[in-house]
Amino acid sequence: MSPATKKRLSYFLISTIVLLVVGKFVYNSLQGNTVYFFSPTDLSNLSEKPNGLIRVGGLVKKNSIKEKQKNASYTFTITDLKNDTYVEYEGLLPNLFQEGKGAVIEGVLKDKKFLLAQKILAKHDENYMPPEVAEALKKSGNWNKNYDQ
C-alpha cells in the first residue's frame, strides 16, 4: 500500500468510527426523549400500557373539570367521543384549556384509563384544533365540521 492510500484509508476508518459512535449517541437520545401520542381509543386498544412519558389528546369532556381541595390540583376527562381517559393534574390550568375544546396532555399512565399529567399543552388559539386531536377525532368517527375553522 502506498502512503497516500494508507492515509486515505485511515481517514476513512476514523471518520466511519466517529460517525457510528455519534449516530448511536443521537439514536439513543432520540429514543429516550421521544414522546408518543395516543388518543383515548388508541389507549384502550393497547394490550399493554406504555411506560414513560406520553401525550394524550382529545376534547375536554363537558362538566368533567373538578378542582381538588385548594391546592390547585384538578381532575378532568379527555375524550375522543368514543373512549375516555381520566386525568389528574397538579398545577394551574392554562387560559386556553376549556371544556369542549381540544387539548393535549403530557404525562405518565397509571393504568390504561388514568393519566397522571405533568404538562398541559395549550399554545394554540381558541379556534385552532391541535392536528393530533383532529386526527384522533377523525379516527373515532366523531369529527365535526364545526371544529374546522
Binding site: V22, V35, Y36, K70, L92, N95, N127
Partner: protein, 631 residues
C-alpha cells in the same frame, strides 16, 4: 380599487420576471448582446412588487374589508399600529413580504455591484429573478393577498391577539430579511459557477451578502425569543419548538458559511465546502418557510392551514435544490482549489473543526425537527421530541466548540502556531479555572455539567477579553472588532444559559385575595385586583406583593380577554434585576372568589441572554460595515 391595482402590479411583475428569464436564455443560447434594458426591467419588477406591498399595507390601514386577507385578519377597533403590522400577520401578506425581500436583495445587489464582472452580475440577477418568479407564481395561484370578497363585510374578524404586540412590527420582517436574504448569495454562487468566476475574489464579494442577512437573522431570532419570554407567558426564552428550530437551522448553516468563506478568501481552500454550505443555507431557509407555512406544525406561527400550499412550496424547494446541485456538480471548481490538506493548529484548521461541529449541531436539530414529521407521514404515529434530546446531545459539543472558538483566533493562517500561543492559552485555562472554582463554591453547585459549562464559556470570554485589553499593540484598523463582539457574545450566551438552566425556579399557585404563599425565600401576597375596559379587550390586573429578604416589590400581571376574535392573553409582569428576573404570569379565571392562579418564575441571567444576542448581532453588523469600507 386598490386591490385591483395591487393584483395587477403583481401580475405585471411576474410577467416581467418571465421576460427577464427569456432575455437571459436568448442571450446565452443564441448569442448577441444582452438586452440593454435587462437591469432596468429587473428594477421595474422590484418597484411593482414594492408598490403592491404598499397598497396592501394601505388596505390594512384603511380596513378595506373587500379584501379577504384584510377581512380575516383585521378589525376597525384595532389600534393603528396593529392594522399596519397586521399586513404580515397572515399567510398572504407575509408571502408578499417574502417576495418583496427576495426582490429587494436583488435590487440592492444591482445598486452596489456596478464595478463587478458583467456576466457575473447579470447571471446573478437572472437567478434572483427565477426565484422571484417561482414565488410570484405561488402567490398568484395559491395565496393572492388581494383576493376579494362579496358582499363586502362591515367588520373584520380581527387579528390573533397573541400577535398584537409591538414586536410584530419588527420580528417577522427581520427574520425574513435574514433568511430570505440568503437568496442573494445563493444566486451569486450559481452565477459564479456558471461564469467560471467562483474563486477567491468571489469569496470577497460574497462575504458582505452573507454578513448582512446573518445579522438580520440573528436579530430576528433574538426578538422572537424575547417575545416568547414576555408576551406569551411561557416563562422561558427557547423551547426547541419546531418553528424555532426552523429559524435556527439556517442560522447554524450560515454561521458555518461565514467562517468557511473567510477561509476561502484567505487561503483558497474549502471551495467546494463553501459552495455546499451556501446551497444548504438557502435550502434550509426555504425549508423553514415550508415547515411554518404548510401548517403541519402546531404553533402560533401557523396561520391558515392549506396542504396544497405546502405541496407547492415543497415542489419549489425540490426544484431549486435539484437545479442548484446539478449546476454545482457540472461546474464545480476543479483546478482553482488551493493546496489541500490542513496544517494542525492553524487558523483554518480550527475553523474547519468548528465547521464540523456546527454541521453536527445542524444535523441534530434537523433530525429532531423532521423525525416526528417523517414518522407521522410514513407510519401515522404522532410523536414529539422533548427538549432534553437537544440539551443532552448538544451540551458536550458546545463545550468543545467554545474551546476551539477561543483557541482558533490565536492561531495563524496556514501555520502550526500552537507553540507560539501555548503560554497564553494555558494562562487563560488557569484563570478561567480559578473563577469557575470560586463560582462553584460561592453558588454551592458542584454539578459536573454546570462546572464544564461555566469553565468553557469563561475560557472563551477571557481569551476574547485578553485580546481586547491588548489591542493597542496593533493598528486599530486591523483589529477584528466583529469577531471579538460575536465570539464574546456567544461565550456570554452559553454562560447565561448554563446559569439559567441550573438556578431558575418555577412555581405555580392559586392564591385567594388578601392571602399569601411562601415559596423558598419569596413571600407572594395577592393584595388587590381591578379590571378595566379597553377598545378591543377587557383587562383584569392583579397586584402581587413579593417579599424577598426584607425587600418588597409589587408586580402587576394581567389577563386580557379580547373580543375580536375572542381569546385570552396573559400580560406578564417582570421585575428585572441585574442577575435575575422575577416574573409573574396570571391565569384566566371566570370566578375570582377562590383566588387567581399565577405562575411565578425566578429566572437567572435572562438579561445576559438578551445582551449576548445583541453582541452577536453587532458583530455581524460590524463585519458588514467593515467589508464595505474595504472596497
Amino acid at each position: 380599487m386598490t386591490s385591483n391595482i395591487g393584483f395587477v402590479s403583481i401580475v405585471i411583475s411576474c410577467i416581467l420576471s418571465l421576460f427577464i428569464i427569456i432575455l437571459f436564455f436568448k442571450h446565452v443560447l443564441f448569442g448577441g448582446p444582452l438586452h440593454s434594458k435587462f437591469f432596468a426591467l429587473y428594477k421595474a419588477s422590484f418597484f411593482l412588487i414594492a408598490a403592491s406591498f404598499v397598497l396592501l399595507v394601505i388596505s390594512f390601514i384603511i380596513s378595506d374589508f373587500s379584501i379577504v386577507a384584510v377581512y380575516e385578519n383585521s378589525h376597525t377597533d384595532k389600534p393603528f399600529f396593529y392594522k399596519f403590522a397586521g399586513t404580515w400577520g397572515n399567510h398572504e401578506g407575509s408571502m408578499l413580504l417574502f417576495i418583496l425581500i427576495i426582490s429587494l436583495y436583488g435590487y440592492l445587489f444591482l445598486l452596489f455591484s456596478k464595478q463587478l464582472n458583467f456576466p457575473l452580475r447579470f447571471t446573478t440577477i437572472f437567478f434572483q429573478t427565477s426565484l422571484q418568479f417561482a414565488f410570484l407564481l405561488f402567490l398568484i395561484f395559491t395565496s393572492n393577498p388581494f383576493e376579494k370578497i362579496f358582499p363586502i363585510p362591515n367588520q373584520g374578524l380581527g387579528l390573533n391577539p397573541i400577535l398584537q404586540d409591538p414586536l410584530l412590527v419588527l420580528h417577522p420582517p427581520f427574520l425574513y430579511l435574514g433568511y430570505v436574504g440568503f437568496s442573494l448569495v445563493f444566486s451569486l454562487l450559481l452565477g459564479g459557477l456558471i461564469c467560471n468566476y467562483y474563486n477567491q475574489s468571489w469569496a470577497a464579494i460574497a462575504k458582505r451578502w452573507i454578513f448582512l442577512p446573518w445579522t438580520f437573522l440573528t436579530f430576528g431570532i433574538g426578538l422572537g425569543s424575547f417575545w416568547a419570554y414576555y408576551e406569551l407567558g411561557w416563562g422561558g426564552y427557547w423551547f426547541w419548538d419546531p418553528v424555532e428550530n426552523a429559524s435556527l437551522m439556517p442560522w447554524i448553516a450560515s454561521t458555518a458559511l461565514i467562517h468557511s468563506v473567510l477561509v476561502m478568501d484567505k487561503t483558497k481552500k474549502l471551495y467546494n465546502w463553501t459552495a455546499i454550505l451556501t446551497i444548504l443555507t438557502f435550502v434550509l431557509s426555504l425549508f423553514g418557510t415550508f415547515l411554518v407555512r404548510s401548517g403541519i406544525l402546531n404553533s402560533v406561527h401557523a396561520f391558515a392551514n392549506d396542504p396544497e400550499r405546502g405541496l407547492y412550496i415543497l415542489f419549489i424547494i425540490s426544484l431549486i435544490t435539484f437545479s442548484a446541485l446539478v449546476i454545482y456538480i457540472l461546474k464545480s471548481p476543479k483546478q482553482t482549489e488551493g493546496e489541500s490538506g490542513f496544517v494542525l493548529f492553524s487558523r483554518e484548521f480550527s475553523i474547519a473543526a468548528n465547521n464540523y461541529l456546527l454541521i453536527f449541531a445542524l444535523t441534530v436539530v434537523t433530525i429532531g425537527t423532521t423525525y416526528p414529521i417523517l414518522l407521522s407521514v410514513f407510519t401515522g404515529e404522532s410523536i414529539s421530541v422533548g427538549p432534553q434530546y437537544y440539551n443532552t446531545i448538544l451540551a458536550p459539543f458546545v463545550f468543545i466548540f467554545l474551546i476551539v472558538m477561543a483557541i482558533g483566533p490565536y492561531m495563524k493562517w496556514s501555520k502550526n502556531s500552537f507553540a507560539v500561543s501555548k503560554n497564553k492559552l494555558i494562562a487563560f485555562l488557569i484563570s478561567s479555572l480559578i473563577v469557575t472554582i470560586l463560582a462553584s463554591l460561592l453558588l454551592k453547585n458542584q454539578n459536573f455539567i454546570f462546572i464544564l459549562g461555566v469553565l468553557c464559556s469563561l475560557y472563551l470570554i477571557i481569551s476574547v477579553l485578553y485580546e481586547f485589553a491588548y489591542f493597542k499593540n496593533i493598528k486599530l484598523k486591523q483589529f477584528n472588532f466583529p469577531r471579538v463582539f460575536s465570539h464574546a457574545g456567544f461565550g456570554f450566551l452559553i454562560l447565561a444559559i448554563t446559569l439559567h438552566y441550573f438556578f431558575s425556579k418555577e412555581f405555580t399557585a392559586k392564591i385567594p385575595l388578601g392571602e399569601s404563599v411562601t415559596y423558598k425565600e419569596f413571600v407572594i401576597k395577592f393584595s388587590n385586583y381591578f379590571s378595566k375596559e379597553d377598545k378591543n379587550y377587557q383587562e383584569l390586573t392583579g397586584e402581587y406583593e413579593i417579599q424577598k429578604n426584607g425587600e418588597k416589590i409589587v408586580l402587576k400581571p394581567s389577563i386580557r380577554r379580547y373580543s375580536q376574535p375572542q381569546q385570552f392573553t396573559s400580560e406578564t409582569s417582570i421585575r428585572g434585576e441585574w442577575l435575575s428576573d422575577m416574573y409573574i404570569a396570571m391565569d384566566y379565571t371566570s370566578d375570582t372568589s377562590d383566588g387567581i392562579g399565577i405562575r411565578f418564575y425566578h429566572n437567572y441571567s435572562i438579561r445576559l441572554i438578551w445582551l449576548s444576542y445583541i453582541l452577536i448581532a453587532i458583530g455581524g453588523l460590524l463585519s458588514f460595515m467593515r467589508r464595505k469600507n474595504e472596497q
